[in-house]
Symmetry: C2
Subunit: 209 residues, 2 copies
């Protein structure tokens, strides 16, 4: 059975974007630092350049998320990225969680589906992925999927920097402990540690155990 896997680059202090995120500053101030392991120069989002350059462990991780069978992301991830031109990789179906219908520029892309219900999006994505994993991307969607108990795994690219401020990956989860199972730890170039966990336990209320 396919797993839904969150792939996110995160600083050691937990940030996935710098402060002052805007449409024209999608990663926030200094947020590009979190992605230098994959896009070293100002080539943010240039997957072809990344593919030419990446080696070793970082290449392994890249190949992994670029061979998933479907993508689930939030509108706030998708739209500032120009919708990846309608094709994240290999034309796999893309499910965008949004309360709004797709904007005209995205509605024409056959692989892109705007959906308003996260559980339906995840179910459809798993079915469409044909046995492959589903790439989940975005902090908001991660939080909602964790809260709903429908995120199967986390693949965190832990970047050796303290950002100080910005947007955190893990927030708004309430006072509940969720147990994780460490699945894999890989040391990539540039000091990144790729941490893979399976979300095993249901949430349990915080409290003296």
């Amino acid at each position: 059975m396919a797993s839904s896997v969150l792939y996110m680059s995160m600083s050691l202090d937990g940030f996935i974007a710098g402060p002052n995120e805007r449409h024209d500053n999608g990663l926030g101030d200094g947020g590009d630092r979190l992605h230098t392991w994959i896009f070293p120069d100002a080539e943010g989002g240039d997957f072809e350049a990344a593919e030419q350059r990446l080696r070793g462990v970082n290449r392994q991780i890249y190949d992994e998320f670029m061979s998933t069978g479907a993508v689930v992301a939030g509108r706030g991830t998708f739209e500032p990225a120009g919708g990846w031109g309608g094709d994240h990789h290999d034309g796999v179906p893309i499910y965008i969680l949004s309360r709004h219908p797709a904007p005209d520029w995205a509605a024409a892309w056959p692989a892109v589906h705007y959906v308003s219900d996260l559980e339906a999006a995840m179910r459809d994505a798993k079915l469409a992925a044909g046995g492959k994993d589903v790439l989940v991307h975005g902090a908001g969607i991660a939080q909602r999927a964790l809260a709903a108990g429908i995120l199967d795994e986390l693949e965190i690219h832990l970047v050796p920097v303290l950002m100080g401020e910005g947007r955190r990956l893990f927030e708004h989860l309430g006072a509940e402990q969720r147990e994780l199972q460490r699945v894999r730890v890989l040391e990539g170039e540039g000091g990144v540690v790729h941490l893979r966990y399976r979300v095993t336990g249901g949430a349990r209320p915080g409290g003296r155990s």
Copy 2:
């Protein structure tokens, strides 16, 4: 030259204590989960029991921080822990950062020094450590030492759990990026990942690089 090394157990979502910390609930609700890799049962703080039981990588890390040459901690770490009976390990000098003088129960211990200035505490601790590293412990002191540029290394015991709420290790650091150098990654029992970093860069203001 001795390094000042922060040793802290932290959940994947960045917490070092659960919510509702009080004097009689020192780790906050559910916070004992963060220390089960070292104190598996309700034996919190029982170093002798830990020493009997620990094996492998977790033992290596334990031995490492128990062979440091001095301890620097905050009053909020020291006092709820009963001041470790005046001896954290091997009678090494203990520097407690506090705006207040030592309480009577702690003032009698020869190894314990209450100090109000963090830079002086760190300098004295390094001198007293006789070439060994200095164990730094506590979130507040970590934040202040990072801000002052006098924390040399981080040894984070990354615990495979999402706490959801509680006290974060990295907060109040301002919008400045601090580069880290990954020094060592060790996989311990119980799914803990021991991450060692050197704080290399000075802080640089957040901003598009």
